[in-house]
């Protein structure tokens, strides 16, 4: 098939799935935080609030976009689109799975593979700060300006430990391409411990995650939008889709950080167990989830549960059946297994992001800076030195 048509199809699929996932990530976040705080969260729009993201999108699009009279118009309008475009671009180099052959077409489950893929993600994320900084400055509002300033200072500071933490697995695998990075992590030590970078590089992984929280402006590092002192921080003056663009950028950055962490440290789409056992885990997970849902549907606690839970259970059983079917069809198995393990790892990391937001209070500004320069930076530096020493000694 023509290269351009194939690329367009892949880009369309990835863009559609990513944008839907971003909308539903927000639903999941509200649900998880609600349950942490003993509430139910979105519940009215659709069963269990499942149509809430759709309602939110319609609301944000049809809302009047107010442009305050005192803003610097060009930069004010440019900032949200800059933020969201730069946040979405990184997905182009993220691989979701191995090479697959469907009929006559052989392709990678990835939009494009750069030899400098990891540097590309770092470069795009390092420019991403301008969206927030400009938005804060162009609003001509002291709270927005403070938010933008904090954000740029924070992102410069945390980019250093982030970059150093990324460098250690690069040293081990000796590559800058995501595909080769995952290929390096294939296999098992002693037959059952996966050869993932997270085991030798546990320090680097922790530093990467913490710096990732700061780079995405998430709790406990969400100083740029600290409500109790800055109203809403850098997006105080924004409304309708311009406001939504900042939110989309935040969630897209979260997905990028967790996907990169998965690829660099957690073996990408590779399963955590040796081949024959790992095939049955998705079936077991989905079948068990479906059976639990059907059981609760037969003993309903609320009125609507009689309908919603059995339907969910049947869908889950259907997915389990699909995985069972895939054991007979090799192509389907390659695609489904890669997607399952990749999404499972990214999903667990995203859950950690939400979980931390539900439990941890915000840092004070001086604590934030001291933590980066006195805590994380020396640790990641030492980690990099130790890794370099081991690699140099063992590569003779």
């Amino acid at each position: 098939m023509d290269f351009i048509i194939l690329s367009l199809i892949k880009a369309a699929v990835v863009a559609f799935v990513l944008l839907t996932a971003l909308a539903y990530l927000q639903w999941i976040e509200r649900k998880v935080i609600a349950h942490i705080q003993l509430r139910v969260g979105p519940y009215r729009v659709g069963p269990h609030g499942l149509l809430q993201p759709l309602a939110d999108v319609v609301k944000l699009i049809t809302k009047e976009g107010v442009i305050p009279s005192h803003v610097n118009k060009l930069f004010y309008l440019m900032a949200p689109w800059m933020a969201v475009v730069l946040a979405l671009i990184s997905i182009a180099v993220i691989p979701f799975g191995p090479q697959i052959t469907v009929g006559p077409v052989t392709t990678w489950m990835q939009l494009t593979d750069l030899r400098i893929g990891i540097l590309f993600v770092l470069a795009v994320s390092s420019i991403g700060v301008y969206g927030v900084a400009l938005g804060g400055w162009a609003s001509n509002n002291k709270y927005s300006l403070l938010g933008g300033l904090r954000s740029s200072a924070q992102m410069i500071s945390y980019e250093l430990p982030l970059g150093l933490a990324v460098a250690s697995p690069l040293l081990l695998a000796n590559t800058l391409s995501f595909r080769e990075m995952v290929a390096y992590q294939d296999g098992f030590w002693l037959g059952f411990i996966p050869r993932w970078n997270v085991f030798p590089e546990i320090l680097g992984f922790i530093v990467f995650l913490i710096a990732g929280f700061a780079e995405t402006n998430r709790v406990p590092f969400d100083l740029p939008e600290a409500e109790n002192e800055l109203v809403a921080g850098f997006h105080t003056e924004y409304s309708s889709m311009k406001f939504a663009a900042f939110f989309m950028a935040e969630y897209a950055n979260m997905v990028t950080v967790t996907a990169v962490a998965t690829l660099l440290f957690l073996g990408g789409w590779l399963p955590p167990f040796p081949e024959p056992y790992s095939d049955f885990i998705p079936i077991a997970v989905f079948a068990l989830g479906g059976l639990i849902a059907i059981y609760h549907g037969l003993n309903p606690a609320r009125r609507m549960d009689k309908f919603t839970l059995p339907v969910t259970g049947l869908v889950f059983l259907g997915i389990a059946g699909l995985f069972g079917l895939s054991l007979l069809v090799p192509v389907l198995k390659t695609i489904l297994m890669a997607l399952f393990w990749f999404c499972a790892k990214v999903g667990i990391l995203l859950f950690v992001f939400i979980w931390v937001r539900g439990t941890s209070p915000r840092f004070r500004y001086d604590q934030l800076m001291r933590f980066a320069w006195v805590g994380l930076f020396p640790i990641s530096m030492l980690n990099l030195l130790a890794t370099g020493l081991v690699v140099a000694l063992s590569s003779k």
């Binding site: 930069f75 750069l114 030899r115 400098i116 540097l119 590309f120 770092l122 470069a123 390092s126 420019i127 700060v129 301008y130 900084a133 400009l134 804060g136 400055w137 300006l145 933008g148 300033l149 740029s152 200072a153 992102m155 410069i156 980019e159 800058l176």
Partner: protein
């Protein structure tokens, strides 16, 4: 195709560079400089220097310019007023004369240089991270180390200047 991309981004680079000088507001100038650096990175990429292109974006556009923007925002620098009062006629004449002068200089320099063959996009293959690293740690090891000592001295100097008592 490659020539088209080259002309687009070379044009953007030149436009941003002129805009950088023409703008009166510091933030607009800083953003133009980012535009220059971004399009330069694309030109490096076309020439096969992929590592240099990535480093250009990460270090210059991503780190140094963020500091520039940060300082401009922190000092809250406003637009500069133009102090020079010149007539419209002189301004337009100046543009034409400047273009002629620069054209003349570039023609003289070009005729003085030895003849070289044109650049072929995609012909140069030694721009990967591996090649750059190998060169840096073998052929250019001494300049590399000397540069890092120089930067260390600059950091220490900045701290000494910034702090009253140590």
């Amino acid at each position: 195709m490659t020539a088209l991309i080259f002309f687009i981004f070379a044009g953007i680079a030149v436009f941003c560079a002129i805009n950088l000088v023409a703008q009166t507001h510091p933030i607009a100038s800083a953003l133009s400089l980012i535009g220059v650096m971004g399009s330069l990175a694309i030109l490096y990429l076309q020439l096969g220097g992929e590592f240099i292109a990535a480093a250009q974006v990460i270090v210059y556009a991503g780190a140094i310019m963020v500091l520039f923007v940060f300082v401009i925002m922190l000092l809250n620098a406003g637009a500069e007023g133009t102090s020079l009062q010149v007539s419209q006629f002189a301004k337009y004449l100046g543009i034409v004369l400047l273009a002629a002068f620069l054209g003349l200089i570039s023609f003289i320099i070009q005729s003085m240089l030895p003849r070289t063959e044109g650049v072929v996009f995609g012909a140069f293959q030694g721009g990967t991270a591996l090649d750059v690293g190998r060169k840096l740690f073998t052929v250019y090891l001494l300049p590399f180390e000397v540069t890092s000592v120089l930067i260390l001295i600059a950091i220490v100097g900045a701290i000494v200047l910034a702090r009253k008592e140590i």
